[in-house]
């Protein structure tokens, strides 16, 4: 079976964001076929932990400790995919929706790209991935129909990352799926192997286990909505501003097959560390 190239994994990077002072000593991202880049968020309770250095992290690849470097997120442009459920109460005003998209475009940096997909019964790419600032023309956003949440997330996560760019998926949904052909197991399976970092903004209802499993498998999380699409997108970007990019060249492990990753913080205290669970080596 042909394995995907490790170059794919070099695509999971962030950056639509200014760099905080604690990250200034970080190394510049260097794209290499054998390089693995891992997006890591660290929390103490619900509070993101900043100011960590490379020596504060321990990373093992299939149980083998690796020598890691901290990469400056500033060096890595972002591809941001908005995936918006229009069957729920997320969007009930078409004009306002496009205004929110314009605001999100304004939050991103030159060099970043933005794409928008909506879904109810049908998944529609209303804005193909394009460099910001984007020329958004208004278009109809239907708010009727069933809801293909899992299919929309699967389709978003199947898309490959572009080498040297971080791929971020921000999904807005109430999580109620009644239309998909993808089952919960498929959603998580795809999430585990996806190049994208999935963050889900839950607009209503309770967080289903499968949604948090999928988001966590990519290193992302589920947030409860407290505002509009643009406001919550800003919140996701703010949280990611305090995340870390670790890179390493795998040593002591065969290149091909599934690589299970384990990332911990080697500092006193209780931390929650979010990072992808692994990758397939090529």
């Amino acid at each position: 079976v042909k394995r995907p190239s490790l170059a794919f994994l070099a695509a999971l990077l962030l950056a639509a964001l200014p760099v905080d002072s604690s990250q200034e000593q970080r190394l510049v991202f260097r794209a290499r076929a054998d390089l693995v880049v891992v997006d890591v968020s660290v929390f103490a309770g619900d509070t993101p932990v900043g100011g960590l250095t490379a020596t504060d992290f321990q990373l093992s690849d299939n149980g083998v400790p690796q020598r890691i470097e901290l990469v400056s997120t500033d060096a890595v442009p972002a591809d941001v995919s908005l995936v918006v459920d229009t069957s729920a109460s997320v969007v009930n005003d078409t004009r306002r929706f496009w205004e929110e998209v314009r605001r999100i475009s304004g939050m991103l940096r030159p060099g970043d790209r933005l794409g928008v997909t909506t879904f109810a019964t049908q998944i529609r790419q209303v804005l193909p991935m394009a460099p910001v600032p984007i020329e958004v023309t208004s278009g109809p956003i239907s708010a009727v129909g069933h809801s293909a949440v899992f299919d929309a997330l699967v389709q978003a996560m199947l898309r490959p990352g572009v080498p040297d760019r971080r791929r971020l998926i921000v999904a807005f949904t109430d999580g109620l799926d009644n239309r998909s052909v993808s089952d919960p197991a498929r959603l998580v399976e795809v999430a585990v192997r996806s190049d994208g970092l999935l963050n889900i903004v839950l607009t209503a209802g309770r967080a289903q286990r499968v949604l948090s499993d999928a988001a966590h498998a990519t290193g992302g999380e589920v947030l409860r909505s407290t505002g509009g699409v643009a406001e919550m997108s800003q919140k996701v970007l703010d949280r990611l501003q305090r995340s870390y990019l670790l890179q390493y060249v795998p040593e002591g492990v065969p290149r091909s097959g599934w690589h299970e990753l384990r990332v911990t913080v080697a500092k006193p205290g209780t931390f929650t560390v979010r990072a992808r669970r692994g990758y397939f080596g090529g």
Binding site: T121, I123, S142, A143, L158, S182, V190
Partner: protein, 427 residues
């Protein structure tokens, strides 16, 4: 708006401007007489100008829909009364068909884009009221006629298969009005009272038990073996025994016999009920296999039910029957798509791929087969093929409704067939 001097405008040279402002404020376009307009539209429809009359009647937005309904109900009664006695029945059917087509055109063929959720619900409520009014108009007649049968067939395809309005089809609680629960009379019951022997109405009745259940279980890959089914029935019987106790609904005492079943037992009891409904539906569906016009649709359901009850070989046989013979694109697609699904669940991945690809040859870019196939390929390290499929799907608007959506709401719509037959009957 409050600062506009409408009276001043009316008494000045700006009279026509004032009327325009008033009309805009009221959400109406200036028109001579709504009643005359409706009569003209009904006359035009009766003369066979079906599309033109329907499109001329389409209200520009949800607010005007309510007004149109009111105008129709007011004018149509007079229009029918004005007919000669041998033409009254035809005029009733004309009115009912016109209402049905306007509702269909408004909801399915377009309607105003960008409706909010509340507006969508209000539109559905208005359309439901219009169709029920038309239904009542026909039911008032003495003996059912072939034209009325076609109207009921078309209306049920629309409501059940295209609107997916389960409550409107089968009846049930329709919310609370003035603190009292409202029960919606099922449209299917009206049809079956008038045409008790119509096989298609029996099919739609059987779909009450398969609706959503088949789709959900097929999607989730939930299958049940005979042993699991027997165990679920046993647990359901235990829950029923508890519900029959005199203390049911009262605070529990210390006795073991009145201990409340846990959530797991209640869930099992519910699943047992749903599965028993599927078994019962399968019996009814098998009795319809002999009806030629329904056979493929019946096989879709029976195949899905066989898949759920862990009989993949039986499911494949049903789906393969469909592959050989059907004329409906929607049914043909679903036969191949579900064949792919049963093969995937059964671990026969090359066969599953063949099934999904065959489905996509029938309805190119259909979202369901595209997503299923892309996921399958991607997880088997055929990423570029998977992504090409999704790119192709998103590159254009879907050419037709994804049949999987129809399957979730009952089955494939035969609206075009029945509305065409109804039109032909009115000519």
């Amino acid at each position: 708006v409050g600062n506009l001097n409408i009276a001043g405008l009316l008494t000045s040279r700006g009279t026509s401007l004032a009327w325009l402002v008033l009309a805009l404020l009221l959400g109406h376009q200036p028109q001579a007489n709504p009643t005359d307009d409706v009569r003209e539209l009904l006359d035009s429809y009766a003369r066979g100008n079906f599309d033109a009359a329907v499109h001329a009647a389409l209200p520009p937005g949800p607010r005007r829909l309510k007004a149109l309904r009111s105008e129709l109900e007011h004018t149509a009664s007079t229009w029918i009364r004005d007919a000669s006695s041998d033409n009254v029945h035809r005029r009733r059917v004309v009115v009912a068909a016109f209402v049905l087509e306007v509702a269909h055109a408004f909801l399915i063929d377009g309607g105003p884009p960008g409706l909010s959720r509340n507006e969508s619900l209000e539109v559905r409520r208005q359309l439901q009221g219009m169709i029920e009014w038309a239904c009542d108009l026909l039911r008032r007649e003495g003996r059912p006629t072939p034209l009325e049968r076609l109207w009921f067939l078309a209306s049920l395809e629309f409501i059940a298969r295209e609107m997916g309005d389960f409550r409107f089809v089968h009846g049930g609680r329709g919310g609370i009005v003035n603190d009292m629960p409202v029960t919606v009379p099922g449209h299917l019951a009206h049809a079956r009272r008038r045409f008790p022997d119509e096989p298609r109405f029996r099919l739609i009745a059987a779909e009450r038990s398969t609706l959503y259940v088949e789709g959900r279980m097929v999607k989730n890959g939930r299958t049940v073996t005979d042993a699991e089914y027997a165990d679920l029935q046993k647990r359901a019987a235990a829950v029923r025994s508890w519900q029959r106790l005199p203390s049911f609904g009262l605070p529990t005492t210390t006795g073991r016999a009145t201990a409340r079943p846990g959530l797991a037992e209640l869930t099992a009891a519910n699943e047992a009920r749903v599965l028993a409904g599927l078994k019962q539906a399968a019996e009814e569906l098998r009795s319809l296999e002999a009806t030629e016009s329904l056979r493929e649709e019946v096989h879709l359901h029976l195949g899905a039910i066989a898949m759920i009850f862990s009989q993949p070989d039986g499911a494949r046989r049903y789906f393969d029957n469909i592959e050989r013979s059907t004329a409906s694109r929607c049914v043909a697609y679903l036969g191949r798509f579900l064949r792919g699904r049963v093969d995937e669940l059964d671990g026969r991945l090359p066969d599953a791929e063949r099934g999904y690809r065959a489905a996509l040859r029938i309805v190119p870019r259909a979202q369901s087969a595209t997503t299923a196939l892309a996921g399958l390929l991607w997880l088997n390290d055929r990423r570029s093929e998977a992504i090409a499929l999704i790119d192709d799907q998103l590159s254009e608007e879907a050419v037709m409704t994804d049949p999987w959506a129809s399957f979730l709401t009952g089955g494939c719509s035969e609206w075009p067939t029945f509305i065409a037959a109804l039109r032909a009957g009115l000519q």
